[in-house]
Structures are given as structure tokens and as C-alpha cells.
Subunit: 263 residues, 2 copies
Amino acid sequence: MAQTSPMRADVAMPTARASATTSFRPIVIHPDGALGDPCAHCDARSVSVCNAIEDDRLPRLAAAAVTATLAPGQGFIAEGDPATHFFNITSGTARLFKLLPDGRRQITGFAGRGHFLGLAVSDTYAFGAEAIGPMTMCRFPRSRMLGLLDEFRALEQRLLETARNELVSAQEQMLLLGRKTARERLSSFLLAQARAGSACGHAAHQIDLPMTRADIADYLGLTIETVSRGFTRLRNDGLIRLDGANSVHIRNIAALEDAAGGV
Amino acid sequence: MAQTSPMRADVAMPTARASATTSFRPIVIHPDGALGDPCAHCDARSVSVCNAIEDDRLPRLAAAAVTATLAPGQGFIAEGDPATHFFNITSGTARLFKLLPDGRRQITGFAGRGHFLGLAVSDTYAFGAEAIGPMTMCRFPRSRMLGLLDEFRALEQRLLETARNELVSAQEQMLLLGRKTARERLSSFLLAQARAGSACGHAAHQIDLPMTRADIADYLGLTIETVSRGFTRLRNDGLIRLDGANSVHIRNIAALEDAAGGV
DNA sequence: CGGTCACTTGATCGTCTTCAATACCAGTGG
DNA sequence: CCACTGGTATTGAAGACGATCAAGTGACCG
């Protein structure tokens, strides 16, 4: 299966670093549950599991939901807390992460518009979540959501489908974390972001990075410095162009795919 | 969130190594579909999703299933192949893995008795699978299985539950691969194996390792040598005892949990 | 016994981390 | 307008962990 290859690939791992977050402040709730039909006009619906529900039954869903706005850095799921709610992100981006007792952090994913959260839980949340920038979401009490699942089988099916997709990405991330070099990780990450962006209608070569270098590092199992050096090298090699720290332009996608390990 | 800590933690990653496998030989099929009620007497049923189906309707399940025996090293899922079947392992252990073009391998998990495979797929398998030792399983054509899902909603619910659990383990594995040292990885692995074993009725301190050092290495994102040295060090530190290469006895579980990173 | 295979152990090397300094950018107030 | 400040990103030098290369052990099997 795996044959010998001249490739080299080393990765070391960082100690925990300071990372000031606004974490847990009270969340601003919008009491719009009583309004007409918020779910019907939701921007996120078309890309979310909610789409599985027919128009005329959306009010049933809306009745269970409460929308909220979060400030940058604000946390809304704490690992280990009782899992009381499900969440659906309607705008902005969140980071999902796990922590070690000494503070080392692994970001397991970034969740954008339409992303359904709280799935991967038993009684307590298995990961934490924080808004990266300004963010809005809607929130369902767990019990009512489970009732909705009984009522809407299509919703349950969509959730299973979602879970399968996330499982596939998780496996790809394991391959990345376990076997790819820093350069490959960064290239893979940029390509994934480009794909995610173009799915949201952005230009295929233009990548917007709402997260910081620290977030990227914690997502790729690297340090800030290695991420930064990686960007610089990809730029010097002519694969990308950096327009500020949060915007990347792909100049040579074939070479970038190659640098990603050919997957 | 993540504060500075004096911890050090480096990991390097291996080049692809030779790893002779018997891979794809024809699978021995048992034509027992016509027999009485094989699912009712299945050893794996109690720990599998099949358990969601009532006794009197088991024949409907059995009618779709075909059992098979695999030789050690034999592959039965090839990454990228059209996803035609679901699998349920009835005895033995399989390794699930992803490969990079140059042969580097990441094992994403080990699947034992009762484990349901083929979930995390769209049209093609997202990972490969091989028997580690002698193995038996039953196999469902994809289309018939989907029909069964329609018929047995409880089965679908169990699958969603399974998927959620796997998502949680996947996140834990990402934390391990991205942020833990070699020693922590190995300790975490042993503890997980111990838990899995005791769930199957083994003594809590006794661990059986059906897989090779190469498998463990590819699972933990390390090399064979590092895994071996890790075992030796844990032994010399008095945390474990090695009874041959495939049997481990935990001598100090608290210390082992500590060495695992305290999670 | 010679052969293979899996595992262990030793010495050296390289990638990424660590530590530290510098650059950058937005916001603030003199 | 410019100095000041805090947070973020970049760059440089040194060090460390795990990879690599290589040799040695032990078990099993012909």
C-alpha cells in the first residue's frame, strides 16, 4: 500500500499561546419569535438544513427559534457545558475548538452561514464555539428541536446527510494533521477556503480570511509563525498574492494544488 | 482562552513506508441469505445499529445482507471507488485509512465488531478499509439499505446517533493529531483502547492490540520507531507492562491519564 | 538453520517550534 | 499632524522533538 518515498515532512507543535477573547458576555437576543414568519425570509435557509422543511410549515420551525447577535470574539458554546441548544448560523463565521487543560487549542472547524451546530453532542457539548467577527444565529432549545425532528423526517435526513459530510471533512482534516507538511497544510487550507467561498458566490481565485493567523495555526496544528512564513513562501514562489493579511489571491491554482499534496 | 504554557511539544511526520498488504483478493462470500434468520443470531447485533430493528422484522434485514469472511490484510473498501455497499463488521478489526498520492497513509480509525461502515460517503468511498486479522462482516447493497432506512425509521435514528458519536471521536482525534506530543498521543491511544476493550467485556487494565506498530503509527501521525520508543518509555516509567508486542497491561492508570494530556 | 517479518534500539538530521525583535495598522488623544 | 498604544503579522536565530537511516533482536516457519 504505502510505498517508500523520498518525501520529507516534519511538523512540530506549539505550546499554548495567549489569545485574548471576549468569550462569555451576555448574548443579545432578538425577541422576534412572535413575528410573522422569520424563517421564510432567512438568508441562511437556502444553504441550511432548514431548507428541508416545506414553506407552509416553516412557522412551526420559527416558533422554536430565537435569533441572536454576537460581538466579535464572543463565545456561545462552552465545551463540557450541558447541551441545551442547537444553533444555526445565519451570518458571520464561528470557530469550533477543543482545548487541553494547559491551554493548547485545536480548532476543529470554522462554521459559516447555514452551518448547523450542536449535532455532535450527547449531554454536554464536545467542543467550544466563538464568533470570529460580528455574527448572527438562531437558537433552538434541544427538546423542541428533537420534537421537530420527530415531526419533520426530511429534517432528520438532512441532518444525517450533514453529519456524513462533516465526517468526510473530518477524515480529510485528520489526513492533513497527521501526514501533511506545513506547506501542504496551508495550501490545502487555502484551496478549501477558495472552494467554500466560490460556493457562496465569490470569485474562485479570491479568498477572504475572516480568521486570524492564530486561528489558522490552531486549525492546521501549527504555530502563528509557521503559518506566516508559509504565506510568505507561497507568495515568493508566485502561487498566491497577499492583499493585506486577510485577503489572498490565487495566482497559480495548479501549483497550489500540487503544493497541497496532490489531493 | 489559550494562555502561554511552558509545555513543549514537537512532532515530525514520516515519509511513506513500505507496508505489504494482501489488499484486494476476492472476498469469500457465504451464501446464507436463504437461511432461517441469521440476523437474529448475530454476535454483533447487540452492539450494532441493527439492534434498532424489532425481532420479528429481522428477516427483512437479513434478506438484504450477505455475510463474508476476509483474510488478514485483505481490503474491502477502496478510496474513490463507487460506493455500492454498506458494511457491518461482525468479528475482527478493520483499519480505515486515507492515502496521499505519494503513499503517506493516515489511519482515521479502527472498526471492530458492530461497527457500521460506508456511512461517510457520497457516491464514492471517502476512505479505504482493510481487515487487520481474520474478519467477518455482512454487506448490504446501497440501494436496498436506503430502502430499509425508509422502512425502519429507528434504524435511521441509530445511524444519526452513530454519526454524531463518530464526529465527536473525530474531533478528539484532531486535537490529538494537531496538538499532542508523541507521548500524549500514545497514552491517549492506550486509554481509548482500554475503554473500548472494557466495553466489550475485557478487563479494564488489559489491552489487546490487534494492529501492528505501523498501523498505530499511521493512526497517531507518527513513525513506527517513535511508537516503539514511546511504548518503551511508558514501560520504563512504570505506567504500563508489555506482554509481547500486542498485549499491554496498564499499571498506573492515573499516571497514564496524566501522560495523555489530562483529558 | 536460513529466511522473513515485526519490533526495538542507536546516531544523526531536518522541520517546525520557541524566543525575541521588528513592522504594521487602526484607533486615540495631545 | 504626530506621538502613543494595543493588537496582529512578519522576520530572524537557536533549539528541540520526532523523522530518518541503520543495525540488531526475537519469533515464526519453511
